[in-house]
Symmetry: C2
Subunit: 163 residues, 2 copies
Amino acid sequence: MENNDFVKELGYLGFTMRLKRISDAMMHEGRRLYSELDVDIEPNWYVIFKLLKSRGAMSVTEIAESIRMAHPSVIHITNKMTDAGYLISEKDPTDSRKRVLDLSARSVKMLPEYEKIWQAGEKGVEKVLKEHNALELISILEDKFFDKGFKERTLEQLKNKKS
Amino acid sequence: MENNDFVKELGYLGFTMRLKRISDAMMHEGRRLYSELDVDIEPNWYVIFKLLKSRGAMSVTEIAESIRMAHPSVIHITNKMTDAGYLISEKDPTDSRKRVLDLSARSVKMLPEYEKIWQAGEKGVEKVLKEHNALELISILEDKFFDKGFKERTLEQLKNKKS
DNA sequence: TCTTTTTATGTAGTTGACTACGCAAATATA
DNA sequence: TATATTTGCGTAGTCAACTACATAAAAAGA
């Protein structure tokens, strides 16, 4: 960080933007990392890989709920993974509305290599965050600001001017 | 948060995605908040408003550096603010490459109202985060993961397999 | 059984970041 | 002074997330 960072000067008002900047920066770093290692996957795919490996085949909506994402986002990600040959998509035989996704043979073959990278990334993050209770803070943020949290809290403050 | 959140199960591996989810959620909440209050501004504009109010007129690149964003992003945001009548754009008389941006009369008129909202939002965030050293943690994240941080740390871990 | 409601998926359109590249003006250098 | 480099801005193209809406199948209810 440079010392002339205006967002930092804004205190708690700058919090959301700083959160976004860090998250965006890490995403872009992830993309650069993969491209430098010549690995043709994208950041965030790892969640789908891990999920399907752990739980087996799942439908679009099941995936969306498991990782708390809107279903169109899941469709977008998994379509790209399917195009890249990492996922297999099949109609559910008992419910023809559903589409069931699972890891392809290519995924099974490549996963060991990719998991090395993810483990290294995790270690790097862990080293920095272990002594700072970072996961605990993230949990609190999720509890307080997911869904209606931030808006409601602000409207509340606008009404009760006293505080 | 629901209890069946797979990303949470991933430990430090899920950290970046959880960061992104929270930051996205807060952004969307912000948009909903403004629309509910019938205010025609967008999340993140507040940083530009605050910056120009505090520092006076600035060029595109100066703004980008002050808030640590890529300059095309700043152009994108400030163009929309200009279209909405909140900013004035003028060529720098001494350097014709530069374009200098400043708050319009409309901004000056509306700012007191908007600042009430931002103050309320800040209070809401502050209430939740005060006892958790959240700003300190954000600073650490910025120090460690901005720019080349995350990629370099991961590559390092990939080499030194021992740790 | 026929109709209504719910569920699962998909598409379209919006927003907000980024990188890569191009162009023109200012500055530095030969 | 002429050329080369740097700087400032802008555009194009990419990607990820969201909401709103559409469609079709399944489930529920009359």
